[in-house]
Amino acid sequence: MSGHLRLTQQEADPVGAISASPIVAIGATLAFLLAAGLTWSHWGEVGSPLAAVIALVLVAAAGTAASFAASPARAPFTNDRLWLVVMLAVGAAIAEYVSTIGNNRQLYDDFGPAVIGMLILSLAPFCTWVSAALAGVLSAAVLSILVVGASMYTESTAPVAALITLNSASVLAMSAAAAGYSYGIVAETLSWQREANRAALQRDTELRAGIARSVQQSRVSVLGREVLPFLAGVMTADRISVADADRARELAEALRRALRAGIESTWLDDLAANIRMNRGVDTIVDDPTGAAAALTADQRSALTALISWLGDAARSQLITVSFAADADGETHGDITLVAETGTSPPSRRELDRFVAVARAVAFRADASLTRENVTVGLSYDID
């Protein structure tokens, strides 16, 4: 439950949120068309055209702010962005109220509540269910004050409480939909993650045994298969020959080199070796302190996804991954990934997906794209 309170879809399922990001622009457009259409339909009630125009401008500003704030390149979406959008939309509702003040015969054709609700709904993938619900309730509270003012000259004879209740229906219903979506998708994602992690733990023994066996085919094991028969030979021999001594020296040196290489390398070197070998893309890792080993599991996944995606022969010719720490090496580290582009270089939009994923796993991420290079800068805090 606490996880549902704190998380947005963008945090729990970053790729899902990236897929959902165009819905914000669609919602913002719909909200603007709705506002323009209703303003046109009740133009006869408009006493102040300037206020009506300001209202429409504010709706457009709220929609634009929402679309910008939710774009993958500006991830993660923060709560203050939601409040900015809601405030602009509430401002539009107030301007609309001012534009029809004294002439507003029907509240039903006012766009304020629907526009606020629509914008909150379209931002559902980017806010927690509590934020969405709270934004709806607070907006409805502000709108209620306007209803009290407007009730004095509406046609309806219904009690003010009934008008307030009816008028808040659209904003409350749509923010409830936003909250319901956010709650539902985060709950689904967390439940899958729990299940996946449990399954992964169960598979762990099997995986480890399989890997342990395959490790025996590796360079070190091959070396072991040379060393052990040699030692067995010496153990059963009467004398050590000069050739034996030389061979022992060679093997000792090879073993030292293997151990040194093993200690200094990390999983990232293995990934680079895989990409180099299987896809023919030169991948260089410059990680003198072995900082890659200190990344969290999610950060490793995000980095692996990015490198694997760039490590396609058509996309890149050469990939360099460099690690650097700050002066004391204790507070944060930086990773710079530079890919020399190949015959079909990645697009900005494609790259932004990975940047958004990186940001979802506690990286500060920036990407730049030129004709020759793709550069992704990742920065992370060291616990």
């Binding site: 970053p14 899902g16 669609i26 219904a158 008028n167 899958w192 480890r208 093997l251 995606w309 997906r353």
Partner: protein
């Protein structure tokens, strides 16, 4: 943690989340209907409006059932009852003549809740089908209500808008899933890959360290000996180590097995004790020839002098290494303190102490070392001391990796610390500390 939702689950999960969104909105519309009826009945002097509240409550109850058990039967029941509610409310509202047409906010409440049914099954097409049915039934019921009660039928703008939103969202959901961005990003494949890479790297390193621990000293000794007869001590050492490795899945960490197989342990109850090199003890040699570490340890233990205690772990490998290297070890402290550690941690400590003792034998120029064990502050401390030649740590050549890997890496992997003091001509003290517990 596994990041995000996998592609094959995204369809059902998104569909359920969208249905959930619709349900929350529908509950809100109906709850507002209940409140509105109550307000009109109480403040508007229209007691008949309680019926409206009651009908909204019936829809809430049915919708809760659909949300909990999304079956076709319940969905159809909700749509039928909901259409009945829209019809009744239309008759009530239009009969009063309060609204000129069916395009009003009051009728929008039950009609919107009707199209947000969600319904049985998953996927955009099915969701759209149920929404369309709900929308059509709601409008038909309003039309029928007007036919009965009089008034003007006009499509409800708020309901049409809600229907348009549902259509847009469902179509958008279907279209974005077709583009299959999840597969493009490969986040789940990457997650599995990194997990596998990390485990593989860990095993590679362990395998190398194991080979280093067991074989390197022999290779160096052979290289240094040059041509000539094989030294008997070297032969014994090789035999023991090959016994440990050959025929076993040596990349797998046998820490647990080693401890449970350890057999008779060594205990020193707070008083100094000396162990003679095992090479001088014939039974020990026999034990090693079996190639079974547990028995070899039994041989290393000072036979009848040592009290046998099955449950107390020991540093058998360390003593075995010391014995092979011809080093006499004096022990202070109680091995029982090792009982506070998990088997893997004991094994790591054992291997690290073994490397310390090998270093003493190789580099200190003495044939005696002291070992002190203690427990305090939630930590087990083992000190290895010698009165040898000593060294400057900074002067240790970088290719000498025994201290770095076999000692420091092992202990740090168990969240412990290694401290080293060495003075040239005075000797060296290495203090290994590991926290209690561990695997």
């Amino acid at each position: 943690m596994t990041l995000g939702l996998p592609g094959h689950l995204a369809r059902e999960s998104l569909s359920r989340a969208l249905a959930n969104a619709g349900h929350w909105a529908a509950f809100t519309c109906l709850a507002i209907g209940v409140v509105l009826g109550a307000v009109m009945a109480t403040f508007g002097q229209q007691p008949g409006r309680w019926v409206g509240s009651l009908l909204a409550l019936v829809m809430i109850a049915l919708l809760a059932l659909v949300a909990r058990f999304p079956t076709v039967t319940l969905t159809v029941l909700y749509l039928v009852v909901g259409a009945g509610v829209v019809f009744t409310v239309t008759v009530m509202v239009m009969d009063d003549g309060e609204f000129p047409s069916t395009n009003n906010a009051v009728l929008a409440l039950p009609a919107t809740a009707l199209l947000l049914v969600g319904g049985a099954g998953s996927g955009s097409a099915i969701g759209l089908t149920w929404a369309t049915l709900g929308f059509g039934l709601g409008e038909a019921a309003a039309f029928l209500g007007v036919a009965v009660a009089g008034g003007v039928y006009s499509p409800n703008f708020a309901v049409c808008f809600a229907f348009a939103v549902v259509v847009i969202v469902r179509v958008f959901d279907g279209v974005t899933r077709l583009s299959d961005m999840r597969r493009d990003t490969g986040l789940h494949r990457a997650s599995q890959q990194t997990r596998e890479l990390a485990i593989r790297h860990d095993y590679e390193l362990r395998a190398t360290a194991r080979l280093h621990d067991t074989a390197l000293s022999h290779l160096v000794a052979i290289a240094a000996a040059g041509s000539g007869p094989v030294d008997e001590r070297l032969r014994v050492g090789i035999r023991q180590d090959l016994g440990l490795i050959v025929g076993r899945d040596w990349a797998i960490d046998h820490a647990l097995g080693e401890n449970s197989d350890a057999g008779p342990g060594v205990r020193s109850a707070g008083r100094p004790r000396s162990f003679a090199p095992a090479a001088d003890t014939p039974p020990a040699r026999n034990g090693r020839q079996n190639g079974w570490r547990g028995r070899a340890r039994g041989g290393v233990a000072p036979d009848a002098r040592a009290p046998v205690e099955e449950t107390v772990p020991s540093l058998a490998h360390a003593f075995s290494s010391a014995a092979n290297a011809g080093l006499e070890v004096r022990v202070t402290g109680d091995f029982a303190v090792l009982g506070t550690l998990g088997p893997r941690r004991v094994a790591a400590l054992d291997a690290a102490v073994a490397q310390c003792l090998i270093n003493v034998a190789r580099h200190a120029g003495v044939d005696q070392a002291e070992l002190a064990l203690g427990l305090g502050g939630g930590e087990v401390t083992v000190a290895v001391m010698d009165s040898g030649v000593g060294f400057e740590e900074s002067e240790v050549p970088p290719d000498r990796i025994g201290l770095r890997t076999s000692i420091r890496a092992r202990i740090e992997q168990e969240h412990g610390t290694v401290r080293l003091w060495s003075t040239k001509g005075i000797g060296t003290t290495i203090v290994l500390t590991v926290p209690e517990g561990g695997e």
